[in-house]
Symmetry: C2
Subunit: 253 residues, 2 copies
């Protein structure tokens, strides 16, 4: 990929993680043959790797006959990550409070490789429920958080991180890159960003950064509100998020 030297074989470890990511993406048990097809990888290789991953508990037999899914060991490793950074504890209580005061859905979002994802969510008690599935990987530019998470990067870094096709919105429209970059700069300076969702037509998204001591944006706290609510309570929500942003950034490692 990176160097000019053309490889003829993939590294097992790369393929192994591809398998895990694929299962995470499709969210359902798959048989080795399906995985091989989906990844465009040699079947014999996938069979071998699946067995290795099963041995390690990174995958588990799912439906008794062939299909596998993510394994318990991944859960425990994830727990260890969570405990170490202690994100959940601190962030979740802040989110609870915001949702209590606003009745809106609150989210904590992070980068996951070159995609955006919702890591934590507290659902508001609105009559209709607003929420993308947590854990889904979404193109960064589609989201309000996508203006904050990359705040620390140069234009070049940003453009080399985001796959070009991710600038095409779900409707097929193309996002203006220069404008996107400008939004990032502005959001970074303001420590806040909000806009009408470009993924749906009825919500407004508020986002504020959570920064580590070095100032890098490790995640965002967001409020996802129906548009009319957002108009009515704009300043309140904005203030709540900025306050949460600052208090959480204090406690980050």
């Amino acid at each position: 990929m990176k160097d000019g030297h053309e490889r003829k074989r993939a590294r097992g470890i790369d393929r192994a993680f591809d398998i895990l990511d694929h299962l995470r993406a499709v969210k359902s048990p798959q048989r080795p043959a399906d995985i091989a097809q989906a990844l465009g990888a040699p079947r014999s290789t996938i069979y071998d790797l699946v067995n290795t991953l099963l041995d390690h508990g990174m995958l588990e037999e799912a439906d008794g006959k062939g299909a596998v899914f993510l394994g318990r060991r991944l859960y425990f490793l994830g727990l260890a990550y969570d405990e170490h950074f202690d994100l959940t504890h601190k962030v979740e209580s802040v989110m609870q409070e915001i949702t209590e005061r606003s009745s809106e859905t609150t989210q904590f979002c992070m980068l996951d490789g070159d995609k955006y994802t919702v890591a934590l969510q507290v659902e508001g008690n609105r009559p209709f429920r607003i929420s993308g599935d947590i854990g889904d990987r979404t193109p960064i530019p589609w989201t309000a958080s996508g203006r904050l998470l990359l705040g620390g990067m140069s234009d070049e870094e940003i453009l080399s991180l985001i796959p070009p096709e991710d600038f095409t919105l779900p409707g097929g429209d193309r996002l203006d890159v220069a404008r996107y970059l400008a939004e990032i700069r502005k959001a970074h300076a303001a420590g806040f960003f909000s806009f009408d969702s470009i993924v749906d037509t009825f919500t407004h998204c508020f986002a504020a950064p959570v920064r580590d001591r070095a100032g890098r944006c490790v995640g965002t706290i967001c409020i996802v509100a129906p548009k009319d609510d957002a108009v009515t309570h704009y300043e309140t929500y904005r203030a709540m998020l900025i306050e949460a942003s600052e208090s959480l950034s204090q406690t980050m490692p």
Copy 2:
């Protein structure tokens, strides 16, 4: 390991997972050199693997200068596991209820490879707090749950799973294997087990199995109570756990 054919090189993927497990065990960022030493693995190999794992987001730079720890991608994979099996949701509400009614610490425990571990915990509001760290890997025979989790296995399977040294208790005493196996059979038949902790001197542990449809024990719900409490409320706690055990086993996949 399994076949007689002696290998001279380890597979990268095996070493990679060893690295992840090691970091989980020590719970703190490590530098590649430390990891290599701790694992008894070639340094150059570990450096290479650590870089690969960093590229994949399975590890993250921790302290700015060299040390790495478990990465975000593991957290997300763990989330996906959790969501799919939906354990947390169902189990946690049951645990909440038990702790509310008993004021004791409730745990949900699982096998993790050849060790026992606490996957979920709701702490009771006793004046002194009872809890081993969640996520720690503990020898199976040291625990009450260790009588239930292996209920579906034959003697041979059990003995080949558990490393011999795990029958040595923390104090140095040796656990009688025949007696341990007998306890497993009895616990399995009763759907319940309890005993005074052998890890500390002041608690009594209650455990009941959570079984999947096939009858295999996927985890245990446990109450960890001070000994005098345990005596006073023995029948109540026992009944609560058995009820929870049965209701949860209904809902398992």
